[in-house]
């Protein structure tokens, strides 16, 4: 059964990369996209069905990833949705703060597309075999 992912990412090519990995691997998962935190919140509030998993970029204009994460975790309806960070750096402070607020994973985006594709593939396959709260 297909999962629904929400990818929150300001960079268009990053979004293309993620979609391409799904498409190339012929996964039947649904991908929702948001350019930034505000758009993601709007989408979450309007959408009847919640995503099973959120992929979140940290460095975004306006509301950044950590700010979005805090709002999400303080919302009783949304807080159980696992969030995996897709970040540029393994900056210690970012890592610490993310885990403090509550995340399900932290992926550093590698330079090479092949490496990226591999990581995302592993990630999706991992979550594919996980039990998630359905509403």
């Amino acid at each position: 059964m297909g999962l629904t992912f929400l990818l929150i990412e300001d960079d268009e090519i990053e979004r293309l990369k993620f979609a391409r990995v799904l498409q190339k691997n012929k996964y039947n998962h649904t991908l929702l996209e948001a350019e930034n935190g505000e758009k993601a919140l709007e989408l979450l509030e309007s959408h009847k069905e919640l995503p099973d998993l959120i992929f979140l970029d940290l460095n975004m204009p306006k509301m950044n990833g950590l700010e979005f994460l805090k709002i999400l975790k303080s919302n009783p309806a949304l807080r159980y949705t696992p969030v995996v960070i897709l970040s540029t750096s393994n900056n210690h402070n970012d890592l610490k703060e993310s885990y403090e607020i509550g995340i399900a994973g932290y992926i550093v985006k590698p330079l090479k597309y092949e490496d990226y594709a591999h990581k995302i593939k592993c990630l999706i396959e991992y979550w594919d075999v996980n039990e998630l709260i359905k509403r």
Binding site: D11, E14, T88, L111
Partner: protein, 533 residues
Amino acid sequence: MSNELEILQRALQREKAARKQAEQILEGKSRELYELTQELKNVNTKLQEGLTEKSSELQGVFENLVDAYVLMDISGNVIKMNDAANELFGYDIDKEHLNVLSLIYEEDYQYAMSSFQKLVTKGSFSNYQARVNTKHKGVRTVHINASLIYGKKNQPIAAQGIVRDITEELEQKRIFEEQKKQLSAIVENSSLGIALTQFGKILQTNKAFQNLLGYTNEELLQKEVKDISVKEEFKESAENMQKMNDGEIDTFSVNKKYVKKNGTIFWAKTNVAAVRNTDGSIKYQVALIEDITEQLEFEKQRDKLVKNLEKSNKELNDYAHIVSHDLKSPLRSMNALLTWLKEDYEEVLDENAHHSLNMLIKKVDKMDLLIDGILRYSSIDKINQPQQKVILNTVVTDIIDVIHIPSHISIEILTELPSIEGDTFRLQQLFQNLINNAIKYNDKEKGVITISCEQKNEFWEFSITDNGPGISKKYHDKIFQIFQTLDDKNESTGVGLSIVKKIVDVYEGKIWLDSIEGEGTTFYFTLKNNSFL
């Protein structure tokens, strides 16, 4: 006849009576004389006693006189001297003849003669002060009061003098004056303003104090401390003064403002010390003031600079991260797009296009490495790891175990490596970069790398020797600069040695190298041996 007889008898009777009377008178006179004699005798005895008493009194005074006493005849021949005089002049007149003229110090002769003249004409002189030659004590300065002694006919028969040795006293006085002069020279020439005050009144000031305030000494003597202080601040000083008066403190130091004659204000560090009477009450206060207006200005500027520096340091660190994010994102995108081009158009593109795309991807990789380098370089002095004992033997052995060493290369630690206080991560980075370079650039069939260390005073000197291609002398400085690489194959970023240099700097050490082109290189570096601290 009977008449005659009667007359005769009466006459005889009268005569008898007259004689009797005369006898009586004589007897009375005789008794008077006796009594008078007795009285005289008594008086004489009393006088005798008195004289003896006086003489012994005088003798006592004479002997016990602390000052020297000299009795001489009119020609200056000494007749008598007391013990003090003996002691002073060193002559025993019982054994040798002494004339006072021989005692006179040559240069004072004229003065001595005129004083003697005064003695002869006026009968005395006082406060004579001159030098004398003594037998054992050399030249001494003495103070003399002298007077003549007259005989029965009121003619001078002798002279007496009381002599006090004032040499020491004069010397003390001279030393005191000298010290006073020295002290006032110090006070006057001090760059610190110094003022003596009493109950808030200014009693004395030095040149620097006058210059600082722009008043003359005379003007300042009319002032009180509060007149040259700023009103709002005077309270604090007054509180300290009170504490000082109460004996709670002896000194205090404040930074306070002073008002100059022209009304301008300056900041001065002020030290006040109490000079107390024996009963502990305050006699004076000594205030030392030092203009610190400039100093405060400097401090203010320095604080500002430090703040700016902290800010730009932080900005720089943030900058490194921003750069890494902002520069890396497009690189990732470029890599993705290039990869897709290759994947999606594999059949369309010819070999040339593939080659170009691969080159492009390589350049993107290189760019990514450079950015990583900047990040690593900039974070060396940022991460403040706790200082701990680092066992370098273990660190280096671990590096050798972990990194990839091609089979044709051998690494050997020749001497025991020390343990030093430091940050494991940095020290590991230091050794790893140097060892990596030695491996990476080795061009020999059998690569040999050796590591050793020896103690040099307060430093450990390490050396890492390889038998690689060597480094031309002209690059010995350049290689430590960031992004400088001698690698033609374009695989290195030129960050490694700059990081090594930076870490050595952190440990207050030096790094240098010896190299023979074609034969090999030895990198030397020192690290402070902090067990010396």
